[in-house]
Assembly symmetry: none
Homo-oligomer: 248 residues x 2
């Protein structure tokens, strides 16, 4: 990795970028994943590169949903594996939920590389290599999942997910938690609980909140969780920030 | 290129992405260019992936500025070369202005590759390989330009430009036209005329408007062009669109 001094004002953002670039070099991240990361950077800039109050609320709702799930599964793509391997593994252990490698630009070689990368970081239960079931309603290549994993899950945590696939999972009757910096993406709109936050910050908060909720008794169920209202709060925050932007 | 089904709701955007990825494979685009493209995608999404009225006005102002220039030069970086080679060449011929390869992550090999790529598309006047002058006020590696090109130009069309370099060109007394999807980027704030639009759409409009202005007598000069007001209009449009965004 390119060495970035910790004093650099954009240290955190640049380090994330380097991790993604290293992911490409390791065959984990796709080039399209690099572009997707750039999209995320733009939205993170617009929300001020910090967790908004609405994102904290969404993360709390997500924690409760995952804790009360019968069969939760954590979907992991190339960017997730490159950016936050330790955090998805910690979450997997905390929830006793398998990780499933699930990528948009599917090749068996890349699935295996991501699986091995997660195992090198300590993961013991990584699905996705079987790809013995299909999500209905989407084109063949992107529909592959494991029967024992996402296919039969009731709640799927699918960070940085594609809109079509999120919609298809919902259509199958699953509850989907997503982490996506774009509050107007199709993924954010379709998901049951959309956390509009950077994935590192969101997983850190999610792990903390799950531990808290475990300690204090499981979280309350979220029949009344208002995802639309939550997204609206994020959108309004971005709009206000934009209007306040100083121009020369 | 990876095959994207034409039925995918984001087909156009994904195809642009494929061009940039092909640019990396051809040694033209940098990995950082991929991330920058992603940031652009996010802002294009926010303006609705179409040319805003403010962008039309900016493009008209840019056409007049380029037509009345004594020595206009068109700066071309890796992303520009990968996305719109035909359009910058058409513009170069229309304005009788040279193209100059000018990249942020400078290596001679990449400059030569971009030059050859443009020549394969029919360009006959591509500068940038001499790099016999320096823009003052910025770090050595990123300051290289051709004396006969950008260094002695009065008006530079610099699409997808870096903020520091845009500022330095302005400090040298040049007028700079930029095309940048981020209305709050430093480039957009520093430029003389900032076209906040996708580069394909902006160049298509620019070519059309230059032809029109040539037919009807040269465009009026723009002593009173209000770049800040134009950017404010774009920002307000984005904020309004966000607030009107339909959520499920």
């Amino acid at each position: 990795m390119f060495r970035i001094p910790e004093t650099h004002p954009r240290y955190k953002s640049l380090m994330k970028r380097e991790k993604i670039v290293a992911g490409i070099e390791a065959g984990i991240t796709s080039k399209q994943g690099l572009i997707a990361h750039g999209r995320g950077e733009a939205f993170d800039y617009l929300i001020g590169e910090r967790t908004l109050p609405a994102a904290f609320r969404a993360t709390e709702a997500a924690a409760a949903l995952l804790l009360t799930a019968k069969k939760p599964v954590i979907s992991v793509n190339g960017n997730v594996a490159a950016l936050v391997p330790e955090r998805v593994i910690a979450l997997s252990e905390l929830l006793n939920a398998p990780l499933e490698v699930n990528i948009f630009y599917w090749t068996e070689a890349r699935v295996i590389k991501i699986k091995e990368h997660l195992e090198q970081h300590g993961a013991t239960n990584v699905l996705g290599a079987k790809a013995d079931a299909r999500i209905s309603g989407i084109e063949h290549a992107r529909a592959r999942v494991d029967y024992e994993g996402i296919y039969s899950a009731d709640v799927v945590l699918a960070p940085l997910e594609d809109g079509d696939r999120c919609k298809a999972l919902i259509a199958m009757g699953k509850k989907v938690v997503t982490i996506d910096l774009n509050p107007v993406s199709r993924t954010s709109k379709y998901a049951t609980v959309s956390i509009v936050d950077d994935i590192e910050r969101a997983l850190k908060n999610l792990i903390f909140m799950i531990k808290e909720q475990k300690k204090n008794g499981k979280g309350k169920l979220l029949e009344d969780y208002d995802n639309k209202g939550n997204l609206r709060a994020v959108i309004n925050e971005i709009a206000e920030r934009l209007k306040d932007e100083e121009l020369r």
